[in-house]
Subunit: 709 residues, 2 copies
């Protein structure tokens, strides 16, 4: 039995707060349940009893003779806890609390909501709401409209969750208007118990739900959402509209990497990694839903366009190409066949322009020919009205051919009057129709995106053999000394302990030590003096670069000592740092940023002075898989630089991927790492490796102390 069956597939419903007073929720809900012909029993509950909407009302759930699966509650908030106690006494396990006056109203309401949650858990109930619009299930065996939206539900196969009640109602209206039916609707309201994740899980194997639509203002448990959504989105498309982008942007974290991140980037990363198709407007959300409702997932991204007018064909081509999809290369056989019946002035290349005189028969023959071509994965059929041809007849003809080829998506672009679309609403359609070519291209792109997601390997979160102990010691030392920010040296050492390729270096107190270290690093090296008394190293020749051999190193070392002696500065000398000399002009950046809600994120992109100006960086929620890492690297514009633009050495992509994966492991092991920046991750011109030249790690002190003990 499904986790929400008592609520979404009840055999009996009590409406607590049912009323005879017009235009109250208690009246409307009763009317809706009856009007939509709920197949189970309905028990109106009202302290006064009597007859409500022709049914015997009971003074309490306790006086109802039969069992009750679901209580839809619309009583005043102050009666709620008592009502729930009674529901428990009656053995009710499903609640839908429409009543408002909880955490949305302030502190007192929040307390009440806490008490509500406690009772739900105590009694082992599941609860939708409070402060919600209700629930709907259009499955004929259930036929439940337990919701006070303006529209009567339209039957279909969308599962829809809305966080905003009012907007949810508006959306139901529009869905009906667009002839987009749904299977189930849950208005989660304050999501005290049931949230988007519960709905996802519940709908995972529900065959009546073919696609899932989410309207969200926040994600309650990002990690859980990701786990569920990334699994379920492989089975059915999940579309999400997430509002609050700009507000979120304004409250972005203030730290360096953090300020590049921002909560909306985090949400975006999370949805992307979960295979959720993010839409930025209701309009696009509905358009995409319409496409998934009427199209199979294509086998590739090669699009053919059939039109009776050149202009729209050009615009469609523009739109298809801008999405990076392919214009299908029609086979010679296809072209020959098309030539056999189309007029000479027609174009048999893709886009196939049948010209304005095309009769219905040409639409049928052309679609039949093109759809059979193995080089074609998806088709857009464009129709512009010309005198003598009826749009609806053309649509019917096209659908007739489409019906014989269920495995290829076909989208119609009918630039005709809106009455055409209204009349489609009364028909059974087997493909989506839009007014404009760009909408159809959007739709094809979404289909292709879903295909790519399904084909995308799941990837693994790799586990590397690292020196966890050493990293822990370094971090613990800093924490114990009260420093939330590790020194550069410590940061680099932690990275090194986790197997990240850092700029090699060592500290030497003598000529002999210097040579030993340089030998182990490999030449050329840089030598930098460290001194307590001399802060301007370069003025005394304290930095010597490009030292090519042990002999040269010895000479430089001796020369340095001589110079210091000469200037009377030898006393302050602590020693010299011998550092690998990395030559490279490509500075990348990678690191970790933490979003207060979504947790740690991996970052990768173009570093150096360009980081804030170009913002050519990408984020993924940790932990990342090998596939995530690959995609991160490919998704930034600077990828071309890594590939070896302008004669540079191609970067070792796998090594850079591994760097990201090791960082992911680091923050998984030390979850209190708040920020980590490797800037630059210099791409070595010699080997193509990404080398951490500078590093910075910051921890959340309190958390770190607790974890490290």
């Amino acid at each position: 039995m499904g986790i929400l069956d008592k609520i979404m597939k009840p055999r009996s419903i009590a409406v607590v707060g049912a009323s005879t007073k017009e235009h109250t929720i208690g009246s409307d809900i009763m009317k809706r349940l009856l009007e939509f012909k709920f197949t189970g029993d309905i028990y109106p509950i009202n302290p006064k009893g009597g007859i409500i909407e022709g049914l015997q009302a009971y003074t309490s759930v306790l006086s109802v003779p039969g069992d009750i699966d679901l209580a839809i509650i619309a009583v005043n908030a102050k009666f709620l806890l008592d009502t729930i106690d009674q529901c428990n006494q009656k053995g009710i396990k499903g609640l839908c609390v429409i009543t408002a006056g909880f955490k949305e109203t302030g502190k007192e309401g929040a307390e009440l909501e806490k008490a509500l949650v406690a009772k739900i858990h105590q009694y082992g109930m599941r609860c939708v709401g409070p402060n919600c619009l209700g629930v709907v299930n259009t499955l004929p065996e259930i036929s439940m409209d337990g919701c006070f939206a303006e529209s009567i539900p339209e039957r279909g196969h969308i599962g829809f969750v809305s966080q905003s009640g009012a907007l949810g109602g508006g959306i139901l209206n529009i869905l009906k208007d667009l002839n987009l039916g749904f299977a189930q609707f849950i208005s989660i309201g304050n999501q005290a118990d049931v949230n988007a994740e519960t709905a996802l899980e519940y709908w995972e194997d529900d065959e009546d739900v073919h696609q899932i639509l989410l309207y969200m203002e926040s994600i309650q448990n990002p990690a859980n959402f990701r786990q569920l959504a990334s699994r379920i989105s492989k089975k059915k498309p999940i579309l999400a509209l997430k509002a609050g982008r700009s507000a979120a942007g304004a409250s972005a974290a203030s730290s360096h990497t953090g300020s590049l991140a921002g909560a909306d980037k985090a949400a975006n990363a999370l949805l992307g990694q979960s295979g959720v198709i993010r839409e930025y407007s209701l309009k696009n959300l509905f358009a995409t839903a319409k496409v998934f409702a009427n199209c199979p997932i294509p086998r590739g991204d090669r699009v053919a366009i059939i039109t009776n007018s050149g202009g729209p064909g050009i615009m469609a081509t523009d739109a298809v190409c801008e999405y990076g999809m392919q214009m299908a290369q029609l086979s010679e056989e296809t072209k020959e066949k098309l030539r056999s019946f189309l007029p000479a002035a027609a174009s048999v290349k893709n886009p196939v322009d049948m010209i304005a005189s095309a009769p219905i028969e040409h639409y049928k023959q052309t679609l039949e020919t093109v759809i059979a071509d193995d080089n074609v994965d998806m088709i857009m059929v464009i129709y512009l009205p010309f005198l003598g041809l009826k749009d609806i007849d053309v649509a019917k003809a096209v659908m007739e051919i489409k019906a014989q080829h269920p495995h290829k998506p076909v989208i119609g672009v009918f630039m005709t009057k809106s009455v055409f679309f209204t009349s489609l609403s009364d028909m059974d359609v087997n493909m989506p129709f839009f007014m404009y070519a760009e909408e159809a291209a959007d739709g094809l792109n979404r289909l292709n995106q879903q295909r790519l997601w399904i084909e995308r390997p799941e990837g693994v979160v790799k586990k590397f053999d690292v020196d966890h102990k050493k990293a822990k010691e370094i971090i613990a030392k800093s924490v114990n000394e009260g420093r939330d920010q590790l020194t550069t040296r410590e940061s680099i050492d932690v990275l090194d302990a986790y197997g990240i390729r850092v700029c090699k270096s060592g500290f030497a107190k003598s000529e002999q030590e210097a040579v030993m270290i340089a030998d182990s690093i490999g030449y050329p090296v840089v030598m930098k003096m460290t001194s307590k008394t001399t802060s301007h190293k370069t003025d005394v020749g304290g930095v010597r670069v490009n030292i090519q051999s042990p002999e040269k190193l010895r000479a430089e070392y001796r020369d340095l000592i001589a110079k210091l002696t000469e200037k009377g500065l030898l006393e302050g000398l602590e020693g010299v740092i011998i550092q690998e000399m990395v030559k490279g002009s490509r500075e990348m950046v990678c690191g970790i940023a933490t979003d207060p809600q979504y947790g740690p994120m991996l970052m990768f992109g173009l570093g150096g002075v360009f980081i804030e100006v170009m913002k050519d960086v990408t984020f993924r929620i940790a932990p990342i898989t090998d596939i995530d890492a690959k995609e991160m690297i490919k998704s930034v514009k600077a990828y071309k630089l890594l590939e070896g633009a302008r004669g540079t050495t191609p970067a070792q992509m796998e090594q850079i991927e591994e760097t990201l994966l090791r960082l992911s492991q680091l923050v998984a092991d030390f979850s209190f790492i708040d920020e980590l920046d490797i800037n630059p991750l210099l791409i070595s011109e010699k080997t193509g490796e990404g080398i951490a030249v500078d590093g910075r790690i910051k921890v959340r002190m309190q958390e770190a102390k607790e974890t490290l003990g």
Copy 2:
């Protein structure tokens, strides 16, 4: 009299090729003229004479008794030239040639079209077409539907030009459906004579045309288009849909700067500089037209949002902010007033959330209060349906208030059923309504864009005092020597002659000369030897950088001579180049690229290795004004680098602007310059100047020879 009055405001029309045969153009045009009740005389012309659509037909225009202003011609192409001769004999000056079979069909047709054009010019006629849909003027005094689109025209104030006949017809259908009326429509077809520019000019002072819509696949005379459009767009909005982006991209020029350009970037630059609002889809074109049809131009960009539901308010805020418009700060007075009648749970901050219970009275009071606030320039009113409130009543109430405030744009977002929008079609509306907040935000953004364009100073094409003669000599030398590519030295010298700040340098043959040059350049300098025998300068110490004083320069010079003497290489020495040493890490790029259709363009952006990867460059068609130059610099992301990101010296913006303006002058003076690259234009860390360190000029040889004589 207007240039197209004979065609667009005729007092009499001859339909040449009028027919009694159903579903022919000759029959349809006749029917349309009559059905739409053309106010002048109609003369059907058919060699057989008789009665057509109840009117006496004439065998030729010559047998018509009265004068004829316009001949709409739908005869077979082979009869066209004779028909035109007859039209001339009859004194007809206006033609609309619907007949197809001209340059769109190939070479033979192109010849016929040439002959047509020759006759038109010879006879002093104006001609729309050939291969077009016809012309329409809905002005009641004219009432001409001389077009065979499917729809009867809807009266309104859009002037619409379509290059695609079929698409034009489709658009007319949709406009009618959207209740967007138009004043005049011209299907320009092959634009043998009348084109978009003619229409712009004709409509400039036509009070019946309030906004101009263009569907274009190409722009015939870019310079003329720019001149007209940039003037007319200040008087009335011009919206353009330009198709063929991707195809254009594919055929982009192959050269360096050229490949970044591409024809679509050129078109984009041209439209932008002309104040034309470019739309990328028909959908957006219509939405914008609807906004301009029903809104005044706002006085600022501060938007207030009024809603009865939080969710859509958030989404609207997101959209407004993403366009860079301001969320209006409501005055305390406004907030207080709102508080006085809105419930406690309402929010009186922008967005003003009246909450779901808001009655019509609240919509009226709230809008009245907010619209009177001086801090508000534009308003979005959102309505979600709740039980008990009728959408159309809310719309009427809102329009009532709006009517009292004609100077502020108000856009309605009514997330309700489409029947609402249908019923609006039958009403007189004084503001646009959309289904979604994003559409309204798009509209507000367009209004704001038009405001900014109107407020934008016109700017001047500056004329600098330059050494034109010297530049000419350098270029002529290269051309005479058969080189279309100038040497780096020559290129830099040309730039220098045009007053562009180049990296200063000079050639010296002796120590004394070197010092003199260095003195005039200023220290530090770089010294580079030039030798016929030594190609690897660095191996012999031939490049010496950061020379700080005359003494050091003398020492370095002598050292060089000594080293060369020692190695027996002195003989090949030609001398040394003394070069200004420019320190700076910010590499910009600027230059000239030539689009085969749009001519020379100025380019500016981020240079160095990032040029192809980041593509952070912008283009403008030459010549550019000082305002264009300013906008170019501000429009690239790297502008932040110029401002002095990360502690760098702020760049001298005016000097960089001047560099662009001087380049513009250069290509105006030498129009055969095909490509010019300054890469890098190094931003000096010392002074903030943009300094041309490397330059490259390429000319179109044939043209250059002809021009230089």
